[in-house]
Every structure is written in C-alpha cells, then in structure tokens.
C-alpha cells in the first residue's frame, strides 16, 4: 500500500464533496476534480426554501461541505480539469490523467482509487414542444426558478411580486416517461417542488399555487409536516399532469386537466416544469475511460450489491446521481457508501 496515493473524486458536486469529507474524516487523502471553475454542482444554484423554519431541502449542506473541503489538509481541489485516462499497473489503479477544460494541457496525478460523482443533467423540456418551454412566456423550469430565488432576481420572471399570481407546478416532466426512455421516478422533484411552492406562498401571501402530479412521492421525515404546511397555505393538488400548455390571447397559460372524469381548463400566469434527472452528458465518455457499464437508462451501473458504491471495475466507485436519480440526502448517503467501500478495500487498492 502506498499511502501517498490519493483517491481521485470526479465531480465537485454535493456527492463528490461529501465523499471527500467522509474520506478526509477517516484520514484518507483525496483530490476533487471538477470541470467547472466552482465547487458545488447543481445544488450551488438551488435556493434555500426555508419559510419561518427549515424545510429540510439540504441545499445548505453544499455550503457546509465546501467549507470543510476547503479547510481540510487531506483534500486538494483541481478546478477546470477533466479525467482523460486511467493508468493501471497490474490491474491496480496507478495514475489518473487530467486534461484542462480551458486549454487542453494534460497532467498525471497519483491515484489508488476513483470515485465517479459526475451527477445528472436536468431534462431539457424543449424536446417536447407542447410544454412550451422557451416558446411561451411564463413557462420556466424548477431549476431556473430556484436560481432566481437564490440570486434574489425573481423579478426577471414576475414583474410585480406583490400582485396576485396564479402559479402551477407540473411534475414528472422527463420522469416516468417511457417515450423518452425515462421509465423511472426522479425522486427529488415532488418534495423539491412542494418546498419551493411553500417558500413562494410564505413570501408572497397573495399568490395561489397549484401542483399537478401523477403520484406524490414524499417519503422523508419531513413529508407529513410539508403536507400539513401545504394544506395550511392552501396549495392545490391536482392529480394528473396536463398534456399541453397553450397561451391565451390575454397572455395567460392554459392547461387541461382531468377531474371527476371531465376535462377542466384552467388558466395560470406562470407555469413551472419540474424536470427530472437524466444521465449527465459525459457519462458515456467517462464510462469508456474507466471501463464502466451503464444501466438501461444510461446511469452508471453499480456492481451486484445495491448501495455499497462499488462498480465492476476494480478500484472504481460510484456516488450520487450519476448512479441513480435522487435527492440530495440520497446523494449524501451514497457518498458515504462509496467512502465505506474504499475504507474496506483500502489495503488491497
């Protein structure tokens, strides 16, 4: 065992950072390789949805993690780099080649194991024209809405926040959809959309929010409390996702939903699409570099055990949403699992 060899974590999102923290806490050196110029991944752009109390969205966890990664002497960070090659020596991982995103220069770093934590890519709703995304004014994605709230620039979406406003959230956009090969639930969006809805209602008492869903998926400890809050805030829940968004002459957005066997037409000022998680764009390339298999949906396949974070390639581990879609909490747990597997395997790496 060469103690100088570090564990290379590909991806500086919430899963990668959590894996780095877990390894460093266990006195294992590691290096976080992130292709962007900042740490934090998707979650960095997501908003804190606290109302008069924390709703448990876990977004601030990324701030805590960034802090602890930055202050740990066991962790180094390589920003603006991508992994381009894995160098093995008699089947064991020896080195990892990095390529600069900016200018293509390369460097080799010592490594004994790799954790893949490259995350997901949000579904692009322009793929289905009837969602009206980028075509109709007033249609946005949940990610965009989060970014506006996070940067306090909701004005760019809603001109006068103090006026009454009818907002609809449409769930399962790009999830549970066989036609696009996404026959899975993205797991994070129901609670995420509901928390955002609660946050909006809390900050804007005159807004009226409706949530269109297929099946509400809320299983965490906060679920019951969130549902209670929703009832108190008067959030409407409508079963069934409307098929098409149409702009009316007055600039309103009109959708058709089914109720009691009848089609009902409803009008909204703004519609938010809760887009699901798709495998990140570079998953395939990276899988080829590292010798990994993909599952039927294009996520990285773990080896036989469910959660231990091992893959079929020796020395390569996987954490977060690049393995399966899910929430921040699930990503944190899976990062812990990958770290546990590395600690267990460390002597043989």
């Amino acid at each position: 065992m060469n103690k100088n060899r570090r564990i290379v974590i590909i991806g500086g999102g919430v899963a990668g950072l959590a894996a780095a923290e877990a390894l460093a806490e266990n006195e294992l050196p590691c290096v976080v390789v992130e292709k962007e110029t900042t740490l934090g991944g998707h979650v960095r752009k997501w908003a804190c949805t606290a109302t008069d109390r924390c709703l448990g969205c876990y977004c601030c966890k990324v701030d805590d993690l960034t802090h602890s990664v930055r202050s740990s002497d066991k962790i180094s960070v390589e920003l603006g780099w991508q992994v381009s090659q894995l160098v093995r020596e008699s089947s064991k991982i020896h080195k990892v080649r990095l390529r600069s995103v900016e200018n293509g220069t390369e460097k080799l770093i010592d490594a004994c194991a790799v954790i893949v934590a490259i995350g997901f890519e949000p579904y692009d709703p322009t793929e289905k024209i009837f969602w009206g995304y980028r075509r109709l004014k007033g249609v946005a994605t949940l990610a965009e809405l989060n970014q506006w709230v996070q940067t306090d620039s909701l004005k760019s979406f809603v001109s006068d926040e103090s006026q009454p406003l009818r907002v609809a959230f449409l769930q399962c956009i790009g999830s549970r959809d066989t036609s696009i090969g996404a026959n899975y639930c993205s797991e994070y969006c129901c609670s995420s959309a509901l928390r955002m809805a609660l946050n909006l209602c809390h900050d804007h008492p005159r807004w009226d929010v409706t949530l269109f869903y297929i099946d509400l998926q809320m299983a965490d400890k906060m679920a019951a409390a969130l549902k209670q809050d929703a009832q108190r805030q008067g959030i409407h829940f409508v079963q069934g996702t409307p098929g098409e968004i149409v702009q009316t002459g007055e600039g309103k957005l009109s959708v058709v939903s089914a109720r009691n066997g009848l089609n009902v037409r409803e009008e909204f000022d703004k519609i938010v699409l809760s887009t699901g998680q798709r495998p990140a764009g570079d998953t395939k390339t990276l899988a080829e570099i590292l010798g990994l298999e993909l599952d039927q949906f294009g996520f990285i396949a773990a080896s036989t055990s469910w959660s231990a974070g091992r893959t079929d390639a020796p020395g390569v581990y996987v954490a977060g949403t690049c393995r399966a879609p899910g929430s921040i909490q699930k990503s944190l747990l899976s990062a812990g699992n990958a770290a546990a597997a590395i600690i267990a395997d460390y002597l043989s790496l």
Binding site: R176, C185, A339
Partner: protein, 538 residues
C-alpha cells in the same frame, strides 16, 4: 485496523474508541455489524429479543445477502450477547458503559441502534378494522386480495411498494389483486418498473380521492369494498376475500432507555434522530450515537443498507476524532459552578460530563463531542463556564471598543455557519459592526444587555433557520432571548425595536443584506422620531 496502532485480530488491545456497541435485532443489526466490521471497527452485538427485527421489504434473512452482497456475514468478528430488554447503558465521559456478565470489554466509543420497525398499530387507528398487511402472509391463488394504501393515517412508501410487489406476485400466481391507492410510491430504484409490470400483468389499480376513501363491509365470507374512483368519477364495488390495510410503522416499540441514550434526539413522529439535515446520515446530535433502519422510521432495505454504510464511515471518523481530541480542552469551568446541571441538561451534543470522583463534583466538557456552540455558557446562571476558543474576554474587548467608539454604532451578531461567508460579500450599512459567533446560541441575554448599554443604536442577532441549527436549537435560544429582552424593555416603557432576531442560511446573501439594511433603517427612523419628540418636548 490499519492506520492506527491497534489490530483487529487481537481484541484485547483494541482501544475503547474503536469499539462499537450495536443494540438491535434482526436484519438491521446484521447489516450494521457487517458494515461496521468492514471499515475496521470492533463490534459487540447486544441482541435485544424484544426489539422489532423485521424490515418491510425483506421476507427472509437469506435475502439480506442479496442486499449487502458478497459472502456470508462473518459473525466471528463480533461478540454477541442476547438480552430480553434494552441494556442499561450509561454515558461515561466520552465513552458508553454497558455492564454485562462475561463481557470482557464493557466500555465503548460509540453506540449504534439498529433494529426494525413495528407495524403493530393500535387496532383503533387501523382503518375499517381489517387485517394489517403482514409480509409473507400466505393466501390461496384463487383468492381475491385487496391492498388499501394511503387510508386513514396514511401508509409508508416502502410498505406500499411492497404491497404492489405482493399484488403482482399474487396476480402472477393466478389470483385477483386489487390495489386501492391515492399515490403509488415509485420513488425508489425499480419502483416505476415494478408498477408498470403490475399494471400490465393485470393487477387492478383503483385511485380514490380525498373524499372517497374506501368503505369496507363484511359480505358473507368475503368483503365488499365501496370506493369512488377519482379518474372515472364513479363509485365502484369490489368483492374481496381478503383485505390488507397498509399503514405506517409505530415508534412505540422504541424503549425509553434508548431514547435517553440518544439524548431524546427524535423526530416529530417519535422515531430516532431528528429530521434535521445534520442527522440525515444517521448520526445523532448526541455525539457517539448512531441509528439505522426501522427505528429511524425507514422501512426500505435498500435505504437501510445505505444508512448502515454511511453510519459506518461516520462512526469510524468519530472514533478517530474522539481518540485524537481526548486531551484537548474546549470549555473551562471556574469555582463559581454550583452544579445546577443546566449545562448538562441543555447540551445538544451530550458534551458535558459530571465527574463524581472529585471531592466536589465537577462539570467538564467532553472535547470531541463539543461543537463549541456556547449554549451552555449562555445559559449558565453563575457565569462559571467559558469557551476557550471564543472567550468572554474577547467579547469584553469587543464591547470596550464600542464604548470607546462614536456611539451611533449598530451591532450584528451572526452565527458563523450561516453568516460569515455572506457578510464578506455584502455592503453593510455605515456604522455596522459585525461579530461572528460560533452559534447563535452563544448570544446570551447578558451579552445582548451589555451590548445595548455599551452605547449602540441597536443589536441584530442572526442565526440559522429554526430546524437548521447545527447545535439542534441554538438559534431558537437566541430568538427567545431577544423576545425576552423586548418584553423587559416594553415593561420599562421602551417600545422601540432596539434588538431584533433574524434567521438566514449561508446561501441567502441577499436576504441577509436586506435584513441588515431594513433593521438599520428602522433604527434610523426611531432616531428621527426621538429627535422629533425631543423637539416637540422642548
């Protein structure tokens, strides 16, 4: 364990820091033991026969191997003791003591609670008084079987998903399956595919709405279920031979002693560990205590395995941290201490120990457990405690500077975790002085009074959002102290908002800026009002 001067092969010399007591039963405990041993911790298993053992999605222990993978669980790696009731466990400084006959090592560095969940609900809470769904029940293939989800108090997602799996199995065996539901739980790996297959195989799914919960009537040897389907908007009658109501796990099976050891770190339902994001990975606010599985309200085997490995990593990190920090002091105690035990009671991290061996009982901090939030210091009625890393002397110096200052200063005390980064990014209004405190819980009432009387125009205390505090409820303490001060000011006829409390998260930079500016504005307005009043008075 590698990296440390202890070897797992020789149990005799393992330092207590690396010894874990697993209190539990059934599959959760088995998985916890496997995970903890894999990361190199030395385990003792206190198997408590009375604790619920079953995990919902697993029919037999053999299936466990499918979840954890690899070879058989290497039982030789841990000592097992079997008990009828939860063991008498005591905290002893940083360690836990568990006395048991014949146990060579009875001091442990951490405790992991790992047991299943009980579905034995109060029959009165069970909708319609029908059979509770029990995994592995046998029914003939000719039977018509119905599962009712989401009725009454609701049903657990994992239990619901398992019901769909059972309905599919029964249908494939040639029987008739009905699932009454409001939301099909699919938010788990493979959930959607299972639901798809069940639909295609001919399991009959009937969705009911808020006002249309199924009504069950006995009908000869069978039942008649009367339900209103939301999609068709029509009432439907279904005859069934057997009905299962899928419910929620019951936290009543968690013994009080276990909650005591966890310093009552439970969620609003009564399951172990609070819903705070700081406990989401299975580690309690009460340091050294961990929990996985059904006792945390989680019924899914996949999630349970995930929790177990995550806890194993955290427990190992805890062992390293506690052994490293054993000789570091974080809190000093002076002779003013009268052993009122306020600090002992309110510490969220169980980081205060009482040393009875000394001539006069002494309070001491357990440094590894201590997060240095300063809650104990703020609430100590004798001012006997002090944080070594953030001493009272430093605060005095800060106040002295204010006293020497121009007088129109405005002070912001902010929790380091949620405000420090933001403060560096924003433009504070003129005359603002910011002081980062380790936790809003350190902003004591006396500190607020001292600041007010030092000649400032106002004080703003900023903490994390309630429920988000890394020291459980330090932020709430700060909020209540501000309320108390406002009340006392009002009683002496001062209505002005000289003191205010606000909450923010680290990513709400804009919100902090707005809050600080708004408070400053309200102070300025007050100043103008006072001037105006004085002018009128003259």
């Amino acid at each position: 364990m590698w990296g440390m001067e202890v070897k797992l092969s020789n149990q005799e010399i393992i330092s207590p820091f690396y010894r874990v007591l697993v209190v539990g039963n059934g599959l959760c405990a088995a998985v916890a033991l496997k995970a903890l041993s894999e990361v190199g911790l030395s385990c003792t298993y206190a198997r408590v026969a009375k604790l619920p053992g079953a995990m919902y999605g697993v029919k037999t222990p053999q299936n466990l191997l499918q979840y954890v993978g690899g070879a058989e669980t290497p039982e030789a790696e841990w000592t097992t003791v079997v008990l009828d009731v939860a063991p008498l466990l005591k905290r002893e400084g940083i360690f836990f003591r568990f006395e048991h006959e014949g146990l060579a090592q009875n001091v442990f560095g951490s405790v992991v609670f790992a047991f299943g969940a009980s579905m034995d609900q109060d029959p009165k809470k069970t909708p319609f008084g029908v059979t509770l769904y029990e995994q592995g029940d046998y029914f003939g293939s000719s039977e018509r079987v119905a599962w009712i989800l989401d009725a009454g108090v609701g049903s657990h997602a994992e239990a619901g998903l398992k019901a769909v799996a059972e309905a599919l199995e029964h249908r494939e065996a040639g029987g008739k399956s009905y699932v009454f539901f409001r939301n099909i739980p699919v938010a788990t790996r493979g959930g959607e595919l299972l639901y798809d297959r069940a639909k295609r195989t001919g399991v009959c799914f009937i969705r009911y709405g808020k006002d249309g919960e199924p009504i069950v009537e006995p009908n000869g040897h069978a039942f008649l279920v009367h339900v209103k389907d939301t999609i068709a908007g029509e009432s439907i009658d279904v005859y069934c031979d057997r009905i299962y109501s899928v419910g929620l796990p019951d936290p009543a099976a968690i013994p009080e002693i276990i909650k005591d050891v966890a310093n009552h770190d439970t969620d609003r339902n009564g399951f172990l560990l609070s819903e705070s994001i700081h406990c989401g990975l299975g580690q309690s606010f009460s340091r050294g205590v961990f929990a996985i599985g059904g006792c945390t309200g989680n019924l899914g085997p996949e999630q349970m395995v995930s929790q177990a490995y995550s806890v194993a990593v955290k427990a190992r990190a805890w062992a390293l941290r506690s052994s490293r920090m054993a000789s570091v002091e974080t809190i000093s105690v002076n002779d003013e201490c009268v052993r009122c035990l306020t600090c002992f009671r309110i510490c969220p991290h169980s980081a205060i120990s009482v040393n009875y061996a000394a001539a006069r009982s002494k309070i001491a901090s357990v440094s590894a457990s201590c997060e240095q939030c300063g809650l104990c210091i703020s609430e100590c009625p004798r001012e006997a405690l002090d944080l070594i890393g953030f001493p009272q002397m430093g605060i005095e110096g800060f106040l002295d500077d204010i006293r020497r200052g121009s007088g129109s200063m405005f002070v912001v005390y902010g929790c380091e975790r949620s405000t420090s980064d933001s403060v560096a990014k924003i433009d504070m209004p003129d005359g603002t002085i910011f002081l980062a405190v380790p936790c809003a819980g350190r902003i004591s009432e006396s500190m607020l009074w001292a600041t007010l009387t030092a000649g400032v125009s106002g004080v703003l205390a900023v903490g994390c959002h309630p429920g988000n505090c890394a020291s459980r409820n330090g932020t709430n303490w700060a909020g209540n102290r501000v309320k108390e001060i406002l009340r006392k000011l009002r009683e002496s006829g001062i209505e002005a908002p000289l003191v205010s409390y606000a909450t923010v998260s680290a990513r709400q930079t804009q919100r902090l800026e707005t809050m600080v500016n708004n408070f400053k504005k309200s102070l300025d307005q007050r100043k103008e009002a006072l001037l105006l009043r004085d002018e009128i008075g003259q």
